[in-house]
């Protein structure tokens, strides 16, 4: 191994077995396993008796979240990992931080890896701020002596001196976040793996996080950074690895990787929703894929004031139908604030019927009233007040700015993505009283 390579992956792959049967359940239960086995025997026996050919049960399916991923990372490099939902970013980070094991290939890592897959992991609400600093520090891999040495610094960074001995369940969410990040920020591993830390908190807090991470990088440590925040990626990382469908499709300068990734914004980019997290509902009918892109084929990216089309694939049991169904797409800005909603309940006079099997549903917005920024969307599928499927963050898309009002800008600086653009007319009349003359 070359002296400066700290992470080397060779032909890395991770396979998950998706069971179609168990998809509805959050976990496997022994009784189901037994029942399925017995039923399987029963079926085979019945098939044999009735003279039908035996068909092997096709109730599970292999899914490669990551396949044949190879790259090398040198010491002191700050590398961004870019990719849409289900591209394999999180799986890669999980393998590198040893949470899960690769199914094939190998990784060689030199040095201590600390992963910030979620700020505040392991915080216990009953414990005080002081106790949680030690607890969280240990969970993130700090030695007790190390925490003790940095204790004052952590407390000062979080700004919670007066609440040190208050249980964190009484903290405001802002204080909680600050404390959680303060602990994480004082971690000094050789390799730091960061996932989406910047997706939370207000702008000021995000700036603080960015600054802290820049500091880490300047100390010669290796940072792997996954984010949907392209601006942050570009300002932090010189190099990025672009993943799609579990494979590395680009490895090079962040600028190129970002533009390649965004270009995808994009008719062809179909992100699978099979593995998405934060999902609620009965799940009998569910979204399996979502695609967002410009409606007209002549456009390559989504542009302010131009058309935008969502294509949603829905799957349900063959012999049933969902009616009357309501489908909605909620558009949020990148801070997760709701901007507007496209809802069949409101915009269709009669609600659609969704048949079993696979169906495709499209929703077109003729003139997108959004400024150039990154947005997210939630998907909802339900009937009569019952949730079939709800995905909090089903996907993200990037919008290219273009004049909406026919002027040189769509919003005041700093307001990108913070609201909806509404056509409007200003009139200014000077009110001059006759008496003044």
């Amino acid at each position: 191994m070359a002296k400066d390579v700290v992470i080397r992956t060779e032909g890395l792959g991770k396979k998950y077995i998706i069971s179609h049967q168990a998809e509805r359940d959050r976990y496997t239960a022994l009784r189901d396993v037994i029942w399925r086995t017995v039923r399987g025997w029963g079926r085979s026996a019945w098939d044999m008796v009735s003279g039908r050919p035996l068909i092997a049960g096709d109730e599970t399916e292999e899914f490669w979240a990551l396949r044949d991923v190879s790259f090398e990372i040198q010491r002191g490099e700050v590398v961004g990992i870019i990719g849409g939902n289900g591209a394999g970013k999180s799986t890669l980070l999980k393998i590198l931080s040893r949470i899960t094991e690769p199914s094939e290939g190998r990784v060689t890592i030199q040095g201590r890896v600390a992963s910030l897959l979620e700020v505040g992991t392991g915080f216990h609400p009953e414990l005080t701020g002081r106790e949680n600093i030690y607890l969280n520090g240990a969970i993130l891999g700090m030695a007790r002596a190390e925490i003790r040495r940095k204790f004052e610094e952590i407390v000062a960074f979080a700004g919670i001196e007066t609440f040190l001995d208050t249980p964190v369940k009484r903290y405001s969410s802002g204080m909680y976040m600050r404390l959680a990040f303060a602990v994480a920020a004082h971690l000094e591993p050789e390799i730091l793996v960061v996932d989406e830390v910047l997706a939370v908190g207000d702008a000021e807090f995000q700036k603080k996080c960015l600054g802290k991470m820049q500091g880490v990088a300047e100390l010669g440590r290796t940072v792997l950074f996954v984010s949907h925040n392209m601006a942050a990626l570009q300002s932090l990382c010189s190099r990025s690895i672009l993943l799609r469908g579990g494979a590395v499709i680009f490895d090079g300068s962040t600028g190129d990787a970002v533009s390649r990734h965004l270009k995808v914004g994009e008719p062809s980019d179909r992100s699978s929703l099979q593995q998405v997290e934060g999902r609620r509902g009965r799940g009998t009918f569910r979204f399996v894929a979502a695609r967002v892109g410009p409606a007209s084929p002549s456009e390559t990216s989504i542009i302010t004031g131009k058309s935008l089309k969502f294509e949603l694939e829905i799957v349900g049991p063959k012999d049933s139908a969902l009616a009357p169904s309501s489908i909605s797409i909620v558009i949020l800005n990148r801070h997760g604030e709701i901007l507007f909603i496209c809802d069949t309940d409101a915009s269709m006079s009669s609600l659609p019927l969704i048949r079993g099997g696979r169906s495709l549903c499209t929703c077109t917005i003729k003139e997108v009233p959004l400024s150039g920024s990154e947005y997210m969307y939630s998907l909802f599928l339900g009937r009569a007040g019952e949730i079939e499927d709800f995905i909090d963050v089903a996907g993200r898309f990037q919008l290219a700015d273009s004049p909406f009002f026919g002027t040189s800008r769509n919003c005041a600086p700093g307001w990108e993505g913070k609201g909806v653009l509404v056509p409007h007319i200003w009139e200014l009349t000077s009110l001059v009283c006759s008496g003044d003359k």
Partner: protein
């Protein structure tokens, strides 16, 4: 998850607050690969001892945060059980005690290891599912989790033990020199419960309905094990078979330590119990380590 330390002959050096990472010579090198047997598993476990300590401390702190309720629970439960068992087995069934030991003391001395066993079994088996968010977000040898819940059970045990001493003083029945051997039996009880405990922990991650089995084991076990009576009442020819239950050997051991001369160990039975404990531990740790690598995928 498989790990190998390639060139770290001495225990891994923790990086201190040095501004730059130290030279690669004494850094840990991990090789992560599919299905590779982990050669340095136990050393890795040692490396994470501080996390183990702090997780155990967290569980204890949370449990005893409301001090009154925490202690009261550890005191009231065995105390009431002792009264019920003394009345049922000692008075109604009129079973003999071990020699001159007062019946309540006999019951309590049996209940102590039993509660330790049952608490570890149930706390350990829920530890991973209960900490699913941690398992999915951070790496550590998963064995730490059930093991640290065993520490909590030991703290409960200590509280109950004080209660036993008070009870013995009350009856004016003092333990002899053998009490010095007691820690060995406590350790044995911990090992005996960790064996099946780890097995169930791993199975519980895989099949989430396994947790319903634990209350059953605990409920059933308290009558199958000699908690409310002396194992001397078991007919001699059945004694060996009875000792297949590993708790029998442990309870006998506890009484041997605490109740003095009249309580006797049954040597072949005790050896059998030891064997069963070892076998369970072997199977439990083995199965746990085999499945440990996929826990994060299952939770």
């Amino acid at each position: 998850m498989t790990t190998r330390l390639l060139d770290a002959p001495e225990p891994p050096v923790r990086p201190e607050a040095s501004p730059a990472p130290e030279p690669s010579a004494n850094r840990r090198v991990f090789v992560l690969e599919a299905g590779r047997a982990e050669r340095y598993y136990w050393r890795d476990l040692w490396h994470y001892r501080e996390l183990f300590a702090i997780l155990a401390w967290r569980d204890i702190a949370v449990r005893y945060k409301q001090t009154v309720i925490g202690v009261a629970w550890a005191v009231v439960r065995p105390f009431l059980t002792m009264i019920v068992f003394t009345v049922i087995f000692g008075r109604i069934a009129n079973l003999p005690s071990d020699g001159s030991a007062p019946y309540p003391v006999l019951v309590f001395a049996g209940m102590l290891p039993w509660f330790l066993f049952a608490t570890i079994l149930s706390e350990a088996s829920n530890s991973l599912v209960g900490n699913a968010n941690l398992v999915g977000k951070v790496y550590f040898p998963r064995l730490i989790m059930p093991a640290s819940s065993a520490v909590v059970a030991l703290v409960d045990f200590a509280v109950t033990f004080i209660l036993l001493l008070v009870l013995m003083l009350w009856f004016g029945f003092l333990p002899g020199w053998r009490i010095v051997v007691l820690p060995a039996f406590v350790l044995l009880a911990v090992l005996a419960s960790l064996g099946p405990g780890l097995l169930i922990t791993a199975l519980n991650v895989k099949y989430r309905d396994f947790r319903y089995i634990i209350p059953f084991i605990v409920q059933f076990g308290v009558y199958v094990s000699p908690v409310g009576f002396s194992s001397a009442v078991v007919p001699e020819q059945w004694r060996l078979l009875y000792s297949v239950n590993p708790v029998v050997g442990i309870i006998d051991g506890f009484r041997w330590c605490l109740l003095g001369g009249e309580s006797r160990l049954h040597p072949p039975g005790f050896c059998l119990s030891l064997g069963v404990v070892a076998a369970f531990l072997w199977i439990g740790v083995g199965y746990f380590r085999r499945t440990e690598r996929i826990f994060a995928d299952l939770l």
